[in-house]
Amino acid sequence: MVIEVFPKLVNLLASLALGTAFLLIARRDLRGQVRLFAAQSFFVSILALVIAVFSSSAELFAVGLGLALLKVFIIPAIFNRAVFRIGLQRSVAPYLGTPAALLVSGVLVATAFYVMAPITASNPLPTADAVPIAFSGVLIGAFITVIRRRALTQILGFLMLENGIFLLALLVTYGVPFIVEIGVFLDVLVAVLIMEVFIYRIKENFDSIEVGEMGRLKG
């Protein structure tokens, strides 16, 4: 019974996480974008907890709780503070319109299934079928950082990429060793704090958080 339901549950949660990435492409208001990131992190942490229970791994359970604390509460709180302080609510038009961006994302998902085929084929774990979904999340996260103009949205794209990688590691090998996971969490937290400072500095220097305003360094 559990053996049958488990892969389906994994697929469902991974797909929900990917769905939030698609929504981020369409969403314009910054608060909503932060909420989407929190929602994605929520699905990923639940998935980690489910796999932890299934594989009865206490370490992974702790990692799942840590992830929830960090990415569902702390990081969204940091970004909400940033949105409040810079006083900007709506983001500007991206470099690529929503319909075109969704189309490209569809292509990225297909690519992910193609690239990850050797992993799905060789992997004996019941979670392996969802690996391409996780990799799709990585690609779409990277894509968002490229097509959006606002620093904040770019950073959220990067964090969704990070979520995708965490998910990938989870599905391929039930997570990486504990010490590495802790190190990665630390890196992510420091990176977010640095990025927050950059949002303020870009706002101060360019009087906007549009990265498109920058572009003097060439050649």
Binding site: V115, P118, I119, S122, N123, P124, F135, V138, A142, T145, A151, Q154, I155, F158, L161, E162, I165, L168, A169, V172, T173, V176, P177, I179, V180, G183, V184, L186, D187, V190, A191, I194, M195, V197, F198, R201, I202, N205, F206, V211, M214, G215, R216, L217, G219
Partner: protein, 483 residues
């Protein structure tokens, strides 16, 4: 134990500097920590080379073999030289009213050294990844230290592009970890166990993993086409940091690549990684040559030259064989010595002329004969003229290339000629002519460029002879990588 000490020195120095308010005390700690790390690093390296062994610490988490020892030597030596130089440079750039920036410089420099040392002395490939990502986080505020619009743009670009790039390296690491845990039945996130199990890994998974590793760590190593952040970040950072980023940090990215390549070559045979590395090496060389021909900013010129040299090192690794890898590792040392030298001198030129525009630097040899002469000699070393080290290592690399891939080697040499012409034309404009009227005669920084003599002595030593301890160290490093 010695490895723990080596890591503790910069970590404690960085932490304590951040808490202090006395500038003189901060400078003393900074200098002594850098020299202390050099002493301990050399002691560790010599222990490894003498015994032809590896030393471990912290329950197998830390491990230094002959290749790590080579990297520790490069990091701590150039870390110490740039620290001494940094004292004078930071005094000239940030006076008492900019105390916070100066303190941030000293503190983050130490953190930067710590992260690089951790990356090259850990056996755990996951921890290595964490440490290399941390090098970006440690340096991003240093790139933006002058807090101008340009440096802000450079730092933001550096942060986002490097983070995205290195995230891909993490996927590669996870896939390797997966290949190891399936292939050997045990969990192998350590390089030693992965290397030992390499012949039993799933080739398809390893192939995919290496592509991610190459793109990911290739971004950190500044290889084209993932190099776009590099000219901005390396030219906007303060000179002592540019010297370390170009001369040392790029090599840490390459070091990670080399570690994975050694595993991949056992699983798949050398052909796969060779093709990728020669391709990416040649592309880096071509990209750099194109931008070096018309470069108007001397710091960007040096940065693009780093892309070029990373390309040359990749060619050496791609040509393969004993001499290809030997030349590549030797070129790591030579490039580190010459590029850090030039970036530090570029800092002196910037303090003197207050511009990074090549066309506005005139008569450098007349205005500051010492700085100008050293800059000229450094450029000659960098473009690969005898009697300096890069000549020897480039010769060894292309000699190996003529045997394995004659066409690629020929194209590579042709591009070196283009780079040679482009850089000398730019530098000529700076050296000769009339200095601007208001410019006072004399050197901008005096005693703080004294440690650069070490770079010169070593570059000459490596160019005139190949000292047998160096040859022996490289031989051991290559043996570590083989099967």
């Amino acid at each position: 134990m010695i490895l723990v000490t080596l890591l503790l020195i910069p970590a404690l120095a960085g932490g304590s500097i951040a808490l202090l308010r006395n500038r003189f005390l901060i400078e003393v700690i900074h200098a002594f920590a850098a020299l202390g790390a050099l002493g301990v690093g050399m002691a560790a390296a010599i222990t490894v080379w003498r015994g032809n062994t590896a030393i471990e610490g912290l329950d197998h988490l830390l491990r230094a073999d002959a290749l790590s020892a080579l990297m520790v030597t490069v990091v701590t030596l150039l870390g110490a030289i740039s620290a001494i130089y940094g004292l004078g440079y930071i005094r000239a750039e940030f006076d008492a009213s900019h105390f916070k920036q100066a303190r941030m410089f000293f503190s983050l420099s130490q953190v930067f050294i710590f992260t690089m040392l951790l990356a090259v002395t850990t056996d755990n490939l996951g921890v290595m990844w964490v440490a290399i990502e941390a090098t970006t986080l440690a340096t991003v505020f240093l790139v933006n230290l002058h807090n101008t619009q340009n440096s802000l743009e450079a730092a933001y670009k550096y942060l986002i592009l490097s983070s995205v790039g290195i995230a891909l390296a993490f996927i590669g690491t996870v896939l390797m970890y997966y290949a190891g845990s399936v292939g050997s039945g045990e969990i192998a996130v350590n390089w030693t166990s992965l290397h030992a199990a390499a012949s039993r890994l799933n080739p398809q998974v390893v192939r995919l993993a290496f592509v991610f590793i190459l793109v990911g760590y290739g971004t950190k190593a500044g290889l084209a086409p993932m190099h776009t952040w590099l000219p901005d970040a390396h030219s906007e950072a303060p000179a002592p940091i540019s010297a370390l980023m170009s001369g040392v940090l790029l090599n840490v990215g390459l070091y990670a690549l080399i570690r994975f390549k050694s595993v991949v070559d056992i699983t798949l045979g050398p052909g796969f990684s060779s093709r990728l590395l020669t391709g990416i090496g040649l592309l880096s060389l071509a990209m750099a040559a194109a931008f070096l021909l018309t470069q108007r900013n001397y710091k960007r010129m040096l940065a693009y030259s780093s892309v070029e040299h990373m390309g040359i090192i990749c060619l050496g690794l791609g040509f393969g064989g004993y001499w290809g890898v030997f030349g590549a590792l030797l070129h790591v040392i030579n490039h580190a010595l010459s590029k850090s030298l030039l970036f530090m001198l570029s800092g002196s030129i910037l303090v003197k002329y207050r511009t990074t525009d090549i066309r506005r630097v005139r008569g450098l040899l007349r205005a500051s004969p010492f700085t100008g002469g050293a800059f000229l000699a450094g450029i000659l070393a960098l473009v690969g003229l005898p009697p300096f080290g890069p000549f020897i290592s480039e010769f060894i690399i292309f000699r190996a290339g003529i045997e394995s891939n004659p066409w690629i080697a020929a194209i590579g040499v042709a591009m070196l000629v283009v780079v040679f012409a482009g850089m000398l034309a730019s530098v000529n404009q700076m050296l000769y002519g009339e200095p601007p009227d208001k410019l006072a005669h004399g050197e901008a920084l005096k005693w703080s460029i004294a440690p650069l003599a070490v770079n010169f002595v070593l570059l000459m030593a490596l160019g005139l002879t190949l000292p047998s301890p160096v040859a022996e160290a490289l031989k051991q490093a290559i043996a570590v990588l083989g099967d």
